[in-house]
Amino acid sequence: MKAFQYTRATTQQSAIDAIAKPGTKIIAGGTNLIDLMKRGVIAPDKLVDINQLPLNSISVNKLGHLHIGALALNSAVAEANLVKDLQPLLAMALNAGASPQLRNMATVGGNMMQRTRCAYFYDTTMPCNKREPGSGCGAIGGYSRMHAIFGASDKCIAVHPSDMCVALAALDATVTVSGRKGQRLIPFTEFHRLPGEHPEMDNTLAPGELITGISIPHNNFAKNSYYLKIRDRQSYAFALTSVAAALEISNGTIKQARLAMGGVAHKPWRLFDAEKALVGKPATEESFKQVAEIAMQGAKAYEYNKFKLKLAPATLVEALKHAAGLV
């Protein structure tokens, strides 16, 4: 890899100042960044290590909102009692991701910012609009097994690989970011974006902005939440499809629902219409099958991922059954 400079930021401001310069990248756990550098996908001139910033707290405020710092480790979040009690869906999603070793290094901010695992993105000899805008999309017409069935464009059909983010999208989380212009909040569902004409942009974080944390508003889903991930092996594999399902059930009737899918789109795919359709329905397999049809509206498959048209609704029904305590 290309030689690069390495510095440690000791204050948030110095980190923000440092990343204002082009060619500078933040390093947190490094589990994605370093791989990309080794494969030559990115070649920053300078790395700013932010691990010394005090951004790893996990806390709850008076309103019951859970706040998690951007540097909290994936494993620490998954194991925190606050998280397990208040937002078990998030803990489940985190534990479904990567491997214990990786979760011990990976941070919340880094997880949100991880790049797609599309093979063409990783191989610098192949065309990829995300890596090199205008070079074409290797996956379209190529090996598209892991790719999107929702919201893709003719420029890019990649998926966002995170599990954690699927849960956060379902749970109406908010992202806090800081830049030279100050702090702003981004609703989680608007943090990641669809590829459209600009697949090189994964999300709406502006250049020079630092993620400082996320917060999840209080909810009543803890009892009936489930994260289901279908993959080619039982651990340490990215999702073929995954579903974060959170229900509030009263006397067998669904009062509220939150649903998001992973492995199907360029961003965690929130299923607003299916959620609405669930409200007022009995928590039965029958209801879940009905909303699975709604959820799949507009899905479009490519040569090697047609199976996702069946697997995604099956995953959704199964996740809902688990959330509702039917299995």
Binding site: S99, M126, I230, Q234, Y236, F238, F307, L311, A314, E318
Partner: protein
């Protein structure tokens, strides 16, 4: 053999070194002045290099040299035979000319004073190509497949007799290419001690075969080459030849006149050291209504490269596994513009057994006969292919042991009959066989004055625990505890031993160790006189005779029994799977592997051999697949994130059972091989269990969820 260690089993003699990191693998030596080499791979699949720009790389910090086909020293062993245009077919010839024969082929090697610098400089080498059209897809190229030398068509009885049987079927089975993917990356350190004298530390399954290979390529006297390979972190067949990266390091060391280390990256492991080839198979099989086999026709077409005819005879299993009067087999290989395949655990048989053992299960279902029963009905009492008696075969006992342990009686013949907590439950089984061999080998046994026994032989240990087995044998014969025995190996200057492969090490090298120890003990008994004693006090005898040590070298060879008997190891795998009907997820719930591999010399390491093979088989069945994008001829899953091997969560409880009856003829220990049979037949056992669970027959591996998704109706009905 009554020694205590024989029954309970000794722990690995090198286990502690391995888990504490004290064991030094080939990349972990640092001869003075060592520098680092990194390969540059081609980015096209076929064509010629028009030009190659190495200037930027040469100017990069720390770079000592960049070698390409343009400036490479001539390699003596690549010479063309008189009257020929091209060198003979064989392993890929590094920097031989400007031709590109496969994607990722090494086109340059960059040498620098640090690894990072070499790697960076390698990224600066830019080639211009004249690309040509190419073929990388076996399915499109079976028509141009040809019969490899010595194989091809074979017929016993009447060809295609299965067609005349009252119950018959014909099906196609496909396995994708699989990568060995050992944990340890292939690595070499090459050091020229003089212009014609070389020392290498390299990952190899056979130090002396590597010595031979290097001698042939560089035209050096064998005695001038020292090969070291003390520890090998798995190889599975990927380290049985001298590969281009090894040639590159040796060349590089010659050019820069310093020791050179070259470690392949994980991505390169997929294109540089072979793989199990993508193979298409078709089986026609027929039986009488009471289950007697009438005929089997087994065809196969496997891929090879354009520069080497790789031949592994996957159809051989159909000729020898069952008593069947009429068997005809056809095997062809199809040259593609890809790197050469090579031996991979259970080579040939593992591929063939997936087809044969799946077909047998299909036949059992068609006949409505229990799959074990069908195999017992057709059990071969003598080798159907050669007509020779088996040296030993206890397969029927193995069926019984395994069936009891898995709970076969719970199995229902009708698929999709059993379920548990929303998962379908199925049982399947499959048989494996592999030739049992004994080769030539020598071993030296030295008794030192302090009572330490040193055993020396040039074998490698790629993981099965060879050292442990050899020490067990020596300890038993000499009657001394294992901790007084030192085992030296992985050094080409030691007494002759073959490469570790084909499950023959214990039989072969074990025989030599057995002989050397027996002879050494006899020498002591002679010194004692009066017929000696069965438990000589070695230290005392040496002292009395004023000897600093006593040593014996013994050599063994194949022996006439090998002509008289058909020698095979056998295995039977039993699998219980859970299949989630809606999502198609398959979990192996339990595996039972029973080996008829003669007397078990080293029970603990034997168990790990079986468990490792079973895991390999589960990987083959459920997840392993090398994927090429044929539009580019390039791999798209050349990493451990994307090429899936089983992880702990995928590995069920694995029961390793042994018939543990000695083979009377193969060697004095009564041991047969077990490395290959641990895997052969496993993939079919899993596929058969999936069929039993779901009624869906998967004939193309691996069995991933996409192939099964959407069977929720099965549970409801």
């Amino acid at each position: 053999m009554t020694n205590d260690t024989m029954t309970k089993g000794m722990s690995r003699i090198d286990g502690r070194l391995k888990v504490t990191g004290a064991a030094r693998y080939s990349a972990e030596f640092t001869p003075a002045g060592m520098v680092y080499a990194v390969l540059v791979g081609s980015t096209i699949t076929k064509g010629t290099i028009r030009s190659i720009d190495t200037k930027a790389a040469e100017k990069a910090p720390g770079v000592l040299a960049v070698i390409t086909h343009i400036n490479s020293p001539k390699i003596a062993g690549y010479q063309v035979e008189p009257g020929k245009q091209e060198p003979a077919k064989g392993t890929y010839k590094l920097f031989y000319n400007n031709k590109i024969l496969f994607n990722g082929q090494p086109i340059a090697v960059v040498i620098a004073n640090t690894f990072e610098r070499a790697q960076y400089a390698a990224s600066l080498v830019k080639a211009q190509y004249n690309a040509e059209t190419y073929q990388t897809k076996l399915a499109d190229n079976t028509a141009k497949a040809f019969a490899p030398e010595g194989d091809g068509k074979k017929t016993r009885g009447i060809a295609d007799a299965w067609k005349t049987a009252p119950v018959k079927l014909e099906q196609e089975y496909i396995i994708p290419s699989e990568s060995h993917s050992p944990m340890e990356l292939h690595a070499i350190i090459a050091k020229w001690d003089a212009p014609d004298k070389l020392t290498v530390w390299t990952k190899t399954q056979g130090v002396q075969d590597t010595q031979d290979g290097i001698a042939n390529i560089f035209k050096l006297p064998k005695a001038n080459i020292q090969v070291n390979s003390k520890f090998v972190g798995g190889a599975f067949g990927s380290a049985l030849q001298v590969w281009p990266h090894e040639v590159a390091a040796i060349l590089a060391a010659q050019v820069v006149k310093r020791p050179v280390k070259l470690v392949l990256g994980r991505a390169d492991m997929f294109t540089s050291v072979g793989y199990r080839p993508n193979t298409w198979q078709k089986i026609g099989i027929g039986a009488t209504t009471d289950g007697k086999l009438v005929g089997i026709t087994h065809e196969a077409a496997g891929q090879t490269s354009t520069y080497e005819d790789f031949n592994e005879d996957p159809v051989g299993v159909s000729r020898s596994t069952y008593a069947c009067p009429n068997v005809n087999t056809v095997y062809k290989i199809s040259p593609l513009d890809i790197g050469s395949p090579t031996w991979m655990r259970g080579p040939g048989e593992a591929t063939g057994a997936f087809a044969l053992e799946s077909a047998l299960d299909e036949l059992a279902y068609a006949l409505n006969i229990d799959p074990i029963e069908l195999r017992i009905i057709n059990n071969a009492e003598t080798d159907p292919d050669s007509g020779k008696p088996f040296s030993s075969k206890y397969l029927k006992e193995a069926y019984k042991l395994g069936a009891d342990s898995i709970g076969w009686s719970d199995r229902k013949a009708k698929p999709a009959s059993l379920s548990k907590n929303g998962w379908l439950v199925g049982y399947g089984m499959g048989v494996g066989m592999f030739g049992a061999y004994r080769d030539k080998a020598s071993a030296k046994a030295i008794m030192m004055a302090n009572g330490t026994l040193i055993i020396q032989t040039a074998v490698s240990d790629i993981g099965p625990g060879t050292g442990t087995a050899m020490v067990t044998i020596a300890s038993d014969i000499m009657g001394i505890p294992a901790d007084r025995i030192r085992f030296d190996m992985g050094d080409s200057s030691l007494p002759q031993a073959p490469s570790q492969g084909g499950s023959s090490t214990t039989a072969t090298v074990g025989s030599a160790v057995y002989q050397a120890c027996t002879d050494l003990k006899e020498s002591f008994q002679k010194l004692i006189g009066n017929g000696g004693t069965d438990k000589p006090d070695y230290v005392e005898v040496l002292k009395k005779n004023d000897l600093p040590k006593l040593e014996v070298t013994a050599a063994v060879s194949g022996g006439p029994e090998m002509e008289k008997y058909a020698m095979y190891s056998w295995s039977v795998h039993f699998i219980k799977v859970l299949v989630h009907p809606a999502t198609g997820v398959v979990k192996v719930d339990k595996a039972v592997c029973v080996a008829d591999s003669g007397h078990i010399v080293s029970p603990k390491t034997a168990r790990s051999q079986i468990v490792g093979g079973a895991i390999g088989g589960i990987g083959m069945a459920l997840m392993e697949e090398v994927i090429i994008d044929h539009r580019y001829g390039r791999l798209v899953n050349n990493s451990f994130a994307d090429y899936h091997l089983p992880v702990n969560a995928d590995i069920p409880q694995i029961e390793a059972l042994f018939v543990n009856k000695p083979d009377p003829y193969l060697n004095p220990m009564g041991a047969k091989g077990m490395g290959e049979i641990a895997l052969i037949g496993m993939a079919a056992a899993v596929a058969n269990a999936v069929f039993n669970a779901t009624g869906k027959r998967i004939r193309e591996l691996p069995i991933t969820p996409d192939k099964l998704v959407g069977m929720e109706d099965l549970l409801e009905s």
